[in-house]
Symmetry: D2
Subunit: 490 residues, 4 copies
């Protein structure tokens, strides 16, 4: 059946992956139920594990699971098991082998100032370096998550008020992160000094909500208020919201990948409709890299808005030429390769009647390793296409991320290693085109990229990282990246 | 959260449902693995239960499960547990309360002529009447499935050859059905005298395959040969295919609902691309019921091809205005109402940026009870639409099915009880339109409907049932519909 | 660790096994709860599967499980899931490979006369012969259980009243059996014409109870009334008990193995305390086969009463020299050999302080294959015994059972193949002794065995089978024993 | 069914419970398999959770479960999942509500000196006081187990060698404890300065084993070498055993409850056969509190040796008058009261034939709250006893434990609150007797109790606690006992 594996495979297996989505709510009766709904709306940001912590002002409750929110939290009313009027929640994708329950967030600890729970989207780029120093001082680590480093820093901070300690911890760490935390009295939200990872504030009657995307607000009927600012800490309690500035000179520079791939199309990010930005990418792509074809076919589902934009710009018919099987087993969250080999390529098939004898343009949001693109091209050719052209609605991905996006290493990124001609040949297509970095900034509504201080985090395309990468440099210099040698079987 | 339930709900909860998909293969080494792949491709025809039976020519093996094929059969190689070169399989949707494992197919029995396994898509309209007569003669029934009646008829038939007994049983039953059966020597396929339910023959090297749709052939790399004819029995063994005519005067009259909703868009049914037929429905719908709107939004996913057809016919922009959450838990296969209340409306949300301030045309494949349509309309309005118009790509559904489609009773079918004006008011839309029955026949490539002998089974729209409905009449006359009073807890 | 396997092993692995226990109750509010308690008391008669059926006079409910009663029925109130005032229940041991849920009892069928459920302890010795004839007439069998044959015979019987049909079916079958059945109106109990398998009647206020042993009555506070007679059918309904005689010339001849091993020591069987009978076996054993030893050690748990009897008769100290680990996993119900190899020998250990340097007499209820006895002897020697003597509280087992007892075939029965001297050598003991058949009858309170018409079923010791063995003879003559070639994976 | 609850109940529900058993092995190929076998032998010391940690000298592996060893570790070869030549393991009983996986041992932490795993039997009486101080310094606690305090003390100790740090930590804690720990290089064992909790050293060819009882050595074929001394630390590595003295003036004073109830009868504790000591308790009990009765009946299973001792001393017949149902579901490890109400009293029944019309003496190992004793007495009376006398083979329990034994508070201990006459009345017996404290010392082989420096830890009978009880005093003084307010749902 090797032939089969080429013509009906998994389009998602070469996607990059967000590591997390976070959610928080203060001041509703059954906070856990709102958290479950909000996390469900954020499920696309991480499908491997999920957790909720609540407090009623004295007792904390936590519940953490491997698997989907909808399988773990919606069966019964979660707020019966997790009472309280404050809740935080987390969805997570993680690399294989480390997915044990002790790494699932929110993490909880008893500090001298009382109980504290924390959920985190992003990555701290000097976590291992800090951890080494802490362990040397006798600190005990229970997880391999970088989030725990933050809790240790808070626990050991000398500040009087909780907020002081929290800000003190933030100032010791580098990276891209959005935190949602909770004491027995308040809900806390914070964003790194560049605002790399997103965090938004919403309002639900008299209550406040924090979430990674606006789609979580839509799910529970909350109103979007504003974004948490770059380097800002917000503390929500019975008296309302207070704002603290952790980094006075913070410059906002949100990650473009939220627009390219991560965010749900119906979310508003940085004040922009993700769906509209993606259509504009397709529109600009049509201008930059035209194609003489009969039909435009999106690579489902993330290629759809750009393909529509391309089609509307050119007048060429848009058709669903690749059909997705919605009833695939949960194979894409199975960590074993055996499962991937067996189940994962069962997800998509070609719609022959829209392809046979036609010149086809495939539009995808991006090209990572190129392996899946090649399989798609072969599937389309096997369905009888006369020509196959391919367009990426984002620029060539040439540099790895270090802020919480799971991505192959640089030697696996096709655009980092091959020319356009080579890639055209490798993908076996008649033509290949990428959106330019200028085109991407145009789609974002900018006239041009301010090279000395870019308006967005765009290192994957440009190599321009906003923060130092201390753990990375230490690792390259031969320093151990990983202290833990524990393998937990169950 | 009652507000929430209006603005983010489950579009599928008012769908009608196919009850089954069937598959069979003769002459491959690991027949069960092919059956698992084929059933996976047919999963859209039934998500509640699945089963496979195999034989190696002497021993029979069966494995039956509640749940999806991909969760039950693809984890390991199924042909290790289910050895053999002949396999049949079944996917099933069923009404709540009866989903116990003993009703899951394929059913197996030892006949005097040897072991026999049977899987069935459709419904036998005189099953209860026959069952009563058999029980009176001392026959024991173990399931409440109508399929078991057929096995009893075969067991009690006097014919010498197995085929004679099988044909004899077929001649005693009315209804719409596609059978895939298996003895230790052969694979059997059969279709009712009108060919209401589909069954197709494919070829895989030297082997033969039977399936409800061509997408199952695509999945395993088999070539589509031909349909099983109306009233035909095919017997496949080592010598190839033999054909028997159970009903000499059979007139082919396939069910239109395969095109309207059931079949996968990439399947070829009755020689036609389902995707193309659906686009033609949308095209004709645009001609019959034009609308002065800014944007065309499909009700996902089954409304997409018709919406594309409508948009291409009119030049009005097609946009994804309703976003589907792919990570919904398995709530739609949960039988309890509690789960439906909690989880099921978490599936879709409005893409506000494509709706706000616009005149919107929603296109769906059909309208059943109208309850979901109303919820969708409200969701679109809540997202800021200036006007909302609604179009059904099929004619008004006025009559229930009796051939294996799970559908509400007549008093719940909105079009059976209300005028177009009333429905426009009930759905709270600015205009409402349905495809005409003539339009539907046109989309199918027919010039007109031959009223004295319709080319298709279209009773849901016309009340014109191809077969007698004996059990139904008996029930209306006060006769018991159901012999069984057993409730099986587990 | 091969040494380990000798010195700490499973004493139960060479036990013979009862196949079933049955229970029925008529006329209590929550009949299923009484059934669960009664079955729990009968759990020693079968640990592999259990089931309960109830009726409230119109609807029947059934629930059947693999595993223990206490794991499946006591967690919640079973009568909530299984409402009704009549209940029957079943516990079962069965040979590996056939333990699929469809074979678990009670079996339910809809007859022309209405619903009927049946549970069965014992074995029908002409079941396969009858089944062949029925299948030839077109009867469909769903299980491989001999119990289903009885239901088919009832279904096809021409009698007018249900009782006539039931008696007619009984007269067509041979074997040792106790039936507990149920229609929507009545509870039925029946015993084979020799009363080989036990069945007793109890009273619970105004209600009636049927059970295999009195310990089930003690559990629920019911009073023992009388045994069902050999060949008697009792029908219990709102008017009380009616008795029918299926076999006018029935001669009572209960199975001695109930006393030797099966029945719980606190049960009263055939009017005798099982515990007292076992002590009398030990007392007589001491007289017949004295031993010059320092300490008497029972093989736990079934050897304990006989060892006490031996010790009291001789004045030699009785000590617990073998300690049982109560926390063994459920390995003894695991069918795989791998599990047995790994887990099963973890059950017992030697109490060295009572053994070291002593002359030890081991007393067990019986010796079957001798393999376990040998392992026990080695364990006792490894703990430092100076001499080891062995006594069996029953006579040599030389003939297999055919009435529902799971026992090795004749070539595996040590006493059927070897002399006392050979066995003494094989068991590696200093002396070996068995109770005589006369001694066993004496322990039962009889003066002597009436050889022409024995008072008890004793064929395992004497070869004297009370009934014809038609299936067995047919099998020996080359006729197929088994029609079914189905392997059900799950 | 309230009547039922009196006559067939759970004898174990009023038992006191050991909290833990520990095991360690150094220098075998598949250390985890030995640990699983050893823990299985120690299962009677804790049935609620179990865990194993291993190391191969570089990577650590852990696996922790709720439930029995035999259900979690013996199915497959545990050493495949848990490779390594060093292993430690733990079985645990714990109070309801705290049984979440994060509290299950062994606990693992990365220290500055490398990975470290620890398992613990006993209780640290100043753990909360130390924890408060550590949290104030910024230490993070992940479990509510007192064991974690020890790991923090090791992590923060300034010693150079690991052993120095370990001894330093031990010197900061009070209580009764036996530790088994493991670094990547060595296995560590330690016992509190009074040797309250047991720990023994065994030898398996060239390897060493540590365990709570000798029965764990018997299970794997290891030879018992010696006890770990009071206040001793043993470190086992490739060079053999080294011994360190944590407390120079340690005085050995092992806990008498190991003999009264906890240890398995076939274990050798403090050089004495537990079975023999228990028989001597019964023998002395017969001398101290004679009874004019017809039969001696043990309360199973822990009352058996003392009842045998009583019977042999007096010549009165010993009979099994209470029968235990071995097939009870796992109800006794279910934490909910509902389960206890339903299932737990299904465990025992009276053997009427040995009781009816007789004067019965019941012998149990101890009396805790007296509630179960009363139920047993009622069950025996309901079975027809003419008189019922009761003897406890240990002295009256008047004081709670603080060293790892789960026991009711003082106001629930019957002997702490009532006179012998009152208890005789409350238990509804004709006479009641306890072994004297002198009798208990005699049974232990001592001539008399040295009151100024008792040879054994006997505070439950005498109130004489060997260590300060700092947490307890702080709690009585109004200081919080518990820092953690976290409830973990799953």
């Amino acid at each position: 059946m090797s032939q089969t594996s080429d013509v009906s495979m998994d389009i998602e297996e070469d996607r990059i992956r967000e590591e997390c989505g976070v959610f928080g709510v203060f001041g509703v009766d059954n906070a856990a139920s709102f958290a479950a709904l909000g996390l469900h709306a954020l499920q696309h940001r991480g499908q491997e594990a999920c957790g909720i912590a609540t407090t009623d002002g004295s007792i904390f409750h936590t519940e953490r699971h491997l698997g989907l929110v909808g399988d773990n939290f919606t069966g019964d009313d979660p707020s019966e098991r997790l009472p309280g009027h404050i809740a935080i929640g987390h969805v997570r994708y993680s690399t294989a082998g480390q997915t044990v329950l002790r790494n699932v967030q929110p993490l909880y600890s008893e500090l001298h100032t009382g109980g504290f729970a924390l959920a985190h989207n992003g990555h701290i780029t000097n976590a291992y370096t800090i951890k080494d120093a802490l362990v040397e001082k006798g600190a005990l680590f229970q997880s391999t998550s970088d989030t725990e480093v933050v809790i240790h820093l808070i626990a050991r901070s000398g500040g009087k008020e909780f907020t002081d300690r929290f800000v003190s911890a933030m100032r010791q760490i580098d990276g891209g992160y959005a935190f949602v935390g909770m004491t027995k009295d308040c809900l806390v939200g914070a964003r790194d000094r560049f605002g790399i990872r997103p965090l938004l504030i919403g309002r639900l009657n008299d209550s406040y909500v924090l979430a990674s995307e606006t789609c979580a607000f839509d799910m529970i009927g909350a109103q979007f208020i504003r974004e948490v600012d770059a380097g800002e800490v917000v503390v929500i309690n019975e008296d309302g919201i207070r704002s603290f500035t952790a980094f006075p000179n913070a410059e906002k520079r949100p990650c473009l990948f939220e627009f390219v791939y991560f965010a749900r199309p119906d979310s508003i990010v940085s004040g922009k409709s993700v769906y509209e930005v993606r259509k504009r990418m397709g529109q600009r792509l049509a201008q930059e890299t035209p194609a003489d074809v009969d039909v435009i076919i999106p690579v489902p589902d993330s290629g759809v808005p750009a393909a529509l934009g391309y089609a509307q710009e050119t007048g060429i018919p848009f058709e669903l030429g690749i059909i997705r099987n919605h009833y695939v087993g949960r194979t894409f969250i199975q960590p074993t390769q055996g499962m991937r080999d067996m189940g994962v390529r069962l997800k998509h098939s070609a719609n022959r009647s829209m392809i046979e004898g036609k010149r086809v343009l495939l539009v995808d949001d991006s090209i990572v390793r190129g392996t899946t693109s090649t399989k798609i091209v072969r599937m389309i050719k096997a369905a009888g296409a006369k020509e196959v052209h391919f367009r990426s609605a984002s620029p060539p991905i040439k540099y790895p991320d270090h802020y919480g996006i799971d991505m192959p290493s640089k030697d696996k990124l096709i655009a980092a290693n091959y020319s356009l001609e080579e890639m055209t040949h490798m993908l076996e297509v008649d033509s290949l085109g990428f959106l330019s970095i200028e085109g991407l900034y145009w789609a974002m509504g900018e006239e041009y990229r301010v090279d000395e201080a870019p308006q967005f985090t765009d290192h994957c395309f440009t190599g321009c990282y906003p923060t130092p990468l201390i753990d990375r440099e230490r690792e390259l210099a031969g320093g151990g990246k990983q202290l833990s040698f524990l393998v937990e079987v169950a």
